[in-house]
């Protein structure tokens, strides 16, 4: 035998050691380390998302306001693509080569083996010619997307729109939304997002290393079915909504009509408006930019975001508080010489007209500034001049109960609070103890710092129509097939005025229409109670305001109409309101004694000069400065738009300050 025989053990030892090392490593990666199994399933598993149809939104009578229409996204998995005729492909898609290259790079960057959208939101008509040819382009496939369509193109600001979820939404949703998912961005689409969106379905597929599907993952054990979104029945009446948008064409302003017995919003017009269909499809970004560039800002939701001094429409409220407080009774009279003298200030009546002896009802009917100034001063001075701030604070509480100066909690984002000044505000302006009833006398006639949204004004009319309470105004009356009604909408909100005090005020409001300022808007066969208002506008002609409810007994509709820059309430807002009321109550519009017609108002233009408008509205000024970057902004992030809306209301606070400052000289002139 060989002398180096024992060396076999050394060699065997080395071999054994190495095998043990290999086995130890295998044991570690196969048995101990759990990461590899996860990596493996990530490799092979692809989630295919099935987007459910979004819930449709109906009007109160079941007519469709918005429903779904299929669009197609062309998807691509770059690794599966084989050489093809790019020119032909571009032609079919209707894009140019540059766009093609851009999209291709984007898809490659996302992942060569995972599919991502190549071209989005292709309409059914474009897709028809593409569909049969698509198989010639391996690696590309289509996936249906349900987008929105609006058969009557109405109620854009009410419905809002949807768009792709942005990073912020995705983060906030805790992973529910993925990039490319659609989400409600404004309006009802946003506030009812969780109801409308339904439940996403997931199918798990196995794919090979190139991303090619190879069958179901785990026999579909982890798959879930898509559940369609729920239908919403809105409170809107599509007929009066259409009429309202027609009447408000080429005018700035709002119409808000509410059913007093439920709080359901029947009509919600924001003018100028836009065709909601423009916010769907491939041209969406360009269209949005155009809408955004409109100096009158169609995206501005005037019914809840615009704030106006209520003017004379505030007077009934003023009277009611005085009656409840026992300051006056219905028979309290005032001899109107054409003005009211508060301290050394003179509050003139409309056109300096002397009303003579007026009681409560006739003061409402004649809109006598003198009477209401007298009442206001009586309230403020009842505890003595030194306690004006405390008295004012309690008066303010009473006003707030009507829903002024705070959000009503509408089921839609973006609501503004309006403004009811605080004692602190006057302390800051005049220093503490430096103001008296005469200082703040403008509040008596709805001027000064008072600001209300059209929604608040309409809600105020509901309260008067109901003689002391209102239901929370809302846009969606029932959710889903079961027509679920939210409990908060069945609660009466009392405003702290006994019902007995309403009749004298309502008498006066009936007289406004029957024989007062709004006589031209009288509806044959319907007793309407209303109040005209002329809201001072420091930037131009006054805003025309009219509030009303009808019929007097068992009111079915309460309404507030604002037409900006149009002067007296009786001239524009009242006729428009009367048409809406009549259409709602009778279904048609009859011949008027005064001879006013829908066509006349629908065709009239009351647009201010866009240049001055731009400079008079701070939210628009902001917009003008950024006009160039708007298109990009819209496309990049619709969220920024949302932020924009928020800052709009912030800007509106400043706006109210400008209005207040502008009101100051008027007061001084009076002195």
């Amino acid at each position: 035998m060989n002398s180096f025989f024992e060396r076999r053990y050394v060699i065997t030892g080395i071999f054994l050691t190495i095998i043990i090392v290999l086995l130890a490593r295998l044991f570690y990666i196969q048995v101990i380390d759990p990461r590899y199994a996860i990596y493996a399933s990530n490799n092979v598993r692809r989630e295919i998302i099935h987007n459910p149809a979004r819930g449709p939104i109906l009007d109160r009578n079941g007519k469709i306001l918005v429903q779904n229409v299929p669009f197609y996204d062309i998807m691509v998995t770059p690794k599966l693509v084989k050489p093809f005729d790019t020119v032909e492909f571009c032609k079919l898609l209707g894009i140019n080569r540059e766009e093609f290259d851009k999209q291709w790079q984007k898809a490659m960057k996302y992942s060569p083996t995972r599919s991502s959208p190549f071209e989005k939101q292709i309409s059914v008509t474009t897709f028809a010619s593409l569909q049969e040819r698509l198989s010639e382009f391996p690696g590309f496939y289509s996936t249906p997307r349900y987008l929105r369509t609006y058969p009557d193109s109405v109620a854009a600001q009410f419905l809002g729109y949807i768009g792709e979820a942005q990073d912020r939404d995705i983060k906030r949703s805790g992973g529910y939304y993925h990039s490319g998912d659609y989400i409600g961005i404004t309006g009802v689409e946003k506030s009812y997002e969780t109801v409308l969106r339904g439940q996403r379905g997931v199918e798990n597929l196995m794919v090979d290393s190139r991303g090619k599907p190879k069958g179901r993952y785990a026999n579909g054990m982890f798959d879930t079915a898509a559940v369609a979104g729920q239908r919403l029945t809105s409170s809107l009446d599509i007929d009066i909504q259409k009429l309202g948008e027609k009447l408000m064409k080429n005018k700035l302003g709002s119409i808000v009509a509410i059913e007093p017995s439920t709080g359901e919003i029947l009509c919600y017009v924001s003018s100028p408006t836009y065709d909601p269909n423009l916010m769907v499809g491939r041209e969406r970004g360009n269209n949005a930019a155009k809408i955004y560039k409109n100096p009158f800002d169609p995206f501005f939701i005037r019914p809840i975001q615009a704030k106006y001094p209520p003017g004379s429409s505030f007077k009934p409220l003023s009277a009611l508080i005085a009656l409840q407080e026992g300051i006056i009774d219905p028979n309290t009279t005032y001899y109107c010489p054409g003005y009211y003298k508060a301290g050394n200030r003179k509050i003139p009546c409309n056109n300096g007209e002397a009303h003579g002896l007026v009681n409560l009802s006739s003061a409402v009917a004649l809109s006598c500034n003198g009477y209401f100034s007298m009442v206001f001063q009586k309230i403020m001075d009842r505890n003595g001049g030194k306690k004006t701030d405390a008295t004012f604070a309690s008066w303010r509480d009473n006003v707030e109960k009507f829903g002024l100066g705070g959000r009503l909690g509408l089921d839609m984002p973006g609501e503004s609070r309006g403004n009811v000044p605080t004692p602190l505000h006057y302390d800051n302006v005049y220093k503490k103890g430096g103001w008296r009833s005469s200082t703040i006398i403008s509040l008596a006639i709805g001027q000064g710092e008072l600001l209300a949204t059209p929604l608040q004004l309409a809600n105020l009319e509901c309260t008067i129509a109901n003689e002391g309470y209102y239901y929370k105004p809302h846009l969606i009356k029932a959710i889903g097939e079961q027509n679920i009604i939210k409990k908060e909408y069945t609660v009466r909100n009392y405003v702290g005025i006994d019902s007995q005090y309403f009749q004298p005020v309502i008498n006066g409001m009936q007289a406004v229409v029957d024989k007062g300022t709004a006589i031209r808007s009288k509806i044959p066969g319907i007793v309407m109670c209303g109040k005209t208002g002329t809201a001072q506008n420091p930037h131009g002609e006054s805003h025309s305001v009219f509030v009303a409810f009808a019929p007097r007994d068992h009111p079915k509709i309460a309404i507030a109409v604002v037409v900006e820059n149009s002067g007296e309430g009786a001239h524009w807002a009242a006729p428009i309101a009367s048409f809406i009321v009549e259409k709602y109550l009778k279904g048609s519009i009859s011949q008027r004694e005064s001879g006013i017609t829908v066509d006349y108002y629908a065709n009239a233009t009351r647009l201010p000069d866009s240049a001055t408008y731009l400079h008079s509205n701070s939210f628009n000024r902001r917009k003008a400065l950024k006009a160039d970057s708007i298109k990009k902004r819209l496309q990049d992030s619709v969220n920024k738009k949302l932020k924009g809306l928020k800052s709009t209301s912030a800007k509106n606070k400043k706006d109210s300050l400008t209005r207040f400052l502008a009101a100051q000289p008027i007061r001084k002139e009076d002195e």
């Binding site: 076999r8 190495i18 048995v31 199994a37 090979d208």
Partner: protein
């Protein structure tokens, strides 16, 4: 003893059985790795598993032929086989270049190719055994050592020119044969030392490595300062080591090809590139790791079936084993290899003729080196150099090579009582 009638009784059936078991395991794993439900043909010779079936049959025939040959014939023709291999290796350099593709193959037509470097392992082994078994050869003598080195070195150089780093390194495993035959153990130690130095020089700044080995050497000198010879040896060694460390960076940056560099970097953890250069190893680890303890079951491996792992039926065939048969399968396969190698060493040691013994050690070393590097590669312990897993990987040349290696040994063993 009547050779003609008894050789089947003298055949070591244990070795043959392990060989057949590994071939079978190999075939099923190749089948699983490339199985496609739409083209299940096992006999159409288009799929890898159908071709492998053919290779296995050919190998068995050749195996039987070898068993029927005279042992004398094998020893006598060893130089001729070696010479033919060298010619083929030269030819491959010419033909390979003219084809312009991978230079390791000679096309035989019909989609079949010959890989001479595989056969070089067998023939080199034979010639080395023949040379070392000559009575006047002592491996401890420089002359003999250099001749043995040349026998191993020539095919190494030719294969390196292809360039096929993996197959080249396989020949280095024959150092175990030389060691068994009396080569100083320092060669093993120095080999290990140089591997360690090589890796540390890549991982760390050469200056730090030099500082570390210098301090170590000085400590040893301080301890054994009375032993003059040792001090001199260590100092010489230190100088060589320092020279080596500094040349490593140069070799690494200028001699090695970029992809080889990256592969080494990935194993050392310097680079992490799971989508590019590190893709293979990363996916291979995922496939093996996802097998867990029991595996996913035959034909149920998703990573290998859906081609996440490249070269899945050849160099990365172990992924299929790991994924579908789990840790249990890995242990069985590694166990079979260990058993085979130990059995071959056992056979080698029981030979009366030095030729058979030396040849046996050659077979054991080559098989073991393949297994070690191949599996270490799939689990990220060695850089990707692309050598097959014996008997399991798809490939006719490789299977034939191992068949000849093993069956010649079995033949020699069956004849161990006779004089070769």
């Amino acid at each position: 003893m009547n050779n003609q009638r008894s050789f089947f009784f003298n055949v070591d059936w244990v070795t043959v059985f392990i060989y057949l078991a590994l071939c079978t395991i190999g075939w099923f794993n190749i089948h699983s790795a490339v199985f496609d439900e739409r083209h299940p043909g096992i006999l159409d010779f288009k799929t890898d598993y159908s071709k492998q079936l053919l290779y296995i049959l050919i190998s068995l025939v050749i195996g039987i032929v070898i068993l029927l040959l005279e042992s004398r014939f094998i020893t006598a023709l060893a130089p001729a086989f070696y010479g033919i291999t060298l010619l083929l290796l030269l030819l491959v350099l010419v033909v390979g270049r003219s084809v312009g593709g991978n230079a390791a193959w000679i096309s035989l037509g019909g989609g079949f190719k010959l890989q001479p470097s595989e056969f070089a392992k067998f023939t080199t082994c034979l010639l080395l055994a023949r040379y070392l078994s000559a009575t006047n050869v002592r491996i401890t003598e420089w002359r003999s050592f250099l001749t043995a080195g040349a026998i191993i070195g020539v095919p190494m150089v030719l294969i390196l020119l292809q360039p096929d780093m993996g197959s080249t390194l396989v020949f280095y495993s024959l150092i175990f044969v030389l060691y068994r035959e009396g080569l100083s153990p320092y060669f093993l130690v120095i080999s290990a030392l140089f591997i360690i130095l090589f890796l540390t020089s890549i991982l760390f700044t050469p200056l730090y490595v030099v500082a570390a080995i210098s301090v170590l050497s000085l400590l040893i000198i301080a301890l054994f300062r009375k032993n003059r010879r040792l001090v001199v040896t260590i100092l010489t060694g230190l100088v060589i080591c320092i020279a080596f460390v500094f040349s490593v960076k140069f070799i690494y940056n200028h001699v090695l090809q970029p992809h080889q560099k990256v592969r080494i970097d990935i194993v050392l953890g310097i680079k992490n590139d799971p989508r590019g250069q590190g893709y293979n190893v990363n996916q291979s680890k995922i496939a093996i790791g996802s097998g867990k303890f029991w595996g996913k079951g035959y034909l149920h491996g998703t990573q290998t079936k859906y081609s996440f792992v490249p070269a899945q039926s050849t160099d990365f065939i172990f992924c299929t084993v790991g994924e579908e048969w789990g840790f249990v399968g890995s242990v069985v396969v590694l166990g079979l290899y260990l058993f085979l190698v130990l059995r071959i060493i056992f056979l080698a040691e029981r030979q009366r003729s030095p030729f058979s013994r030396i040849y046996g050690y050659g077979v054991a070393s080559i098989i073991f080196f393949h297994v070690m590097i191949n599996i270490a590669t799939t689990i990220g312990l060695a850089p990707v150099i692309g050598i097959p897993l014996p008997m399991i990987s798809y490939g006719g040349s490789s299977l034939l090579n191992f068949t000849m290696l093993i069956f010649v040994l079995v033949k020699l063993d069956s004849n161990r009582m006779g004089i070769v």
